[in-house]
């Protein structure tokens, strides 16, 4: 063929290929785009609510004299509860793993739980 191609020409040839997609592929891509845009639109109101919610919570904490202390205490209590819950969970997993390894699973393990 005896053709010389630089980067721009190569990109242009590939662009040509991308422009010549079959109509059914273009239709599927367009539908996928619309679906993705719907997802973005659904997400935006939630974010807008969060932007309003954070100042609404922060305002009384700032204004009350014991606001920061109460908030800190609440955060510590939450952290302790989380740690306790995690410890119980990991213990349960250990017991379950042991039961599986020793082939000694209790019957309730086979029952779906709500």
């Amino acid at each position: 063929m005896g053709i010389k191609l630089d980067r721009k020409q190569l990109a242009a040839v590939l662009d040509d290929g991308a422009r010549q997609l079959p109509p059914q592929v273009c239709a599927r891509l367009s539908a996928a785009r619309q679906s993705a845009l719907q997802q973005q639109l659904q997400r935006q109101p939630l974010q807008a609510q969060l932007h309003h919610l954070v100042p609404a919570i922060a305002a009384p904490v700032r204004s009350h004299p014991a606001g920061w202390g109460s908030a800190l205490l609440l955060a510590l209590l939450l952290l302790a509860a989380l740690w306790q819950w995690h410890a119980v969970e990991s213990h349960d997993h250990g017991a379950l793993d042991l039961a599986i390894l020793t082939d000694d699973l209790p019957v309730e393990m086979y029952v779906d739980r709500e």
Binding site: V13, D16, L21, L29, A36
Partner: protein, 193 residues
């Protein structure tokens, strides 16, 4: 913060290329469409509120990860069904060699290209066939650098690797492509620089 119109414009401008990227990688239109759709949804759901200028890199990152996820899933399925692989039909005989479409002294069965559009089609077919022969990471780096127009840093970010790796992948890809295309009478002018 981007608007829905900005995301729409970006996706409209990127979707055809993204489909081609996926087709080069997975070699199946339906699978490629699924991958592009999945990538678009992830971009909108997770990063739809990012500035529009960040969309190209984020989208490429998501797309490349989706392609890799597809291969991981495929690998697991292949491992499960490898016992039955000898019963599947060989497809290599059905593959079309773009060279068969070209007319030269050895192949007079095809009519000569009537116009530049047909010549471009042939050129595209040869380049795409050569791209498909590249290893996945090399093709990824090459396309991001020379088709998408990303610089080395952006390409490294999109591929999740170092800039050094990008340079190595690009260099090897360019050398391999130049070698393949040279055999078809096409010179990549920057490959010898």
């Amino acid at each position: 913060m981007s608007t829905p119109a900005q995301l729409s414009d970006f996706l409209a401008s990127a979707e055809h290329r993204a489909f081609k990227y996926a087709v080069y990688a997975v070699r199946n239109d339906e699978t490629a469409l699924d991958i592009v759709q999945e990538s678009m949804l992830k971009l909108a759901q997770r990063y739809g509120d990012k500035p529009a200028a960040e969309f190209p890199q984020l989208f490429q990152r998501i797309l490349q990860n989706s392609i890799r996820d597809h291969f991981r899933r495929h690998k697991i399925r292949s491992a499960r069904f490898s016992l039955f692989s000898s019963f599947t039909a060989a497809q290599s005989e059905d593959e079309v060699d773009p060279l068969d479409m070209l007319q030269d002294e050895d192949n007079a069965s095809q009519p000569a290209a009537p116009d530049a559009a047909a010549a471009n089609q042939q050129l595209l077919a040869i380049i795409e066939a050569a791209l498909r022969q590249l290893p996945a990471r090399q093709r990824e780096a090459f396309l991001l650098r020379y088709w998408e127009g990303f610089d080395t840093t952006e390409t490294a970010a999109a591929m999740g690797c170092s800039e050094g790796s990008v340079k190595t992948h690009c260099s090897r890809a360019t050398a391999t492509l130049a070698h393949i295309l040279k055999q078809k009478g096409i010179d990549l002018t920057w490959a010898s620089n």
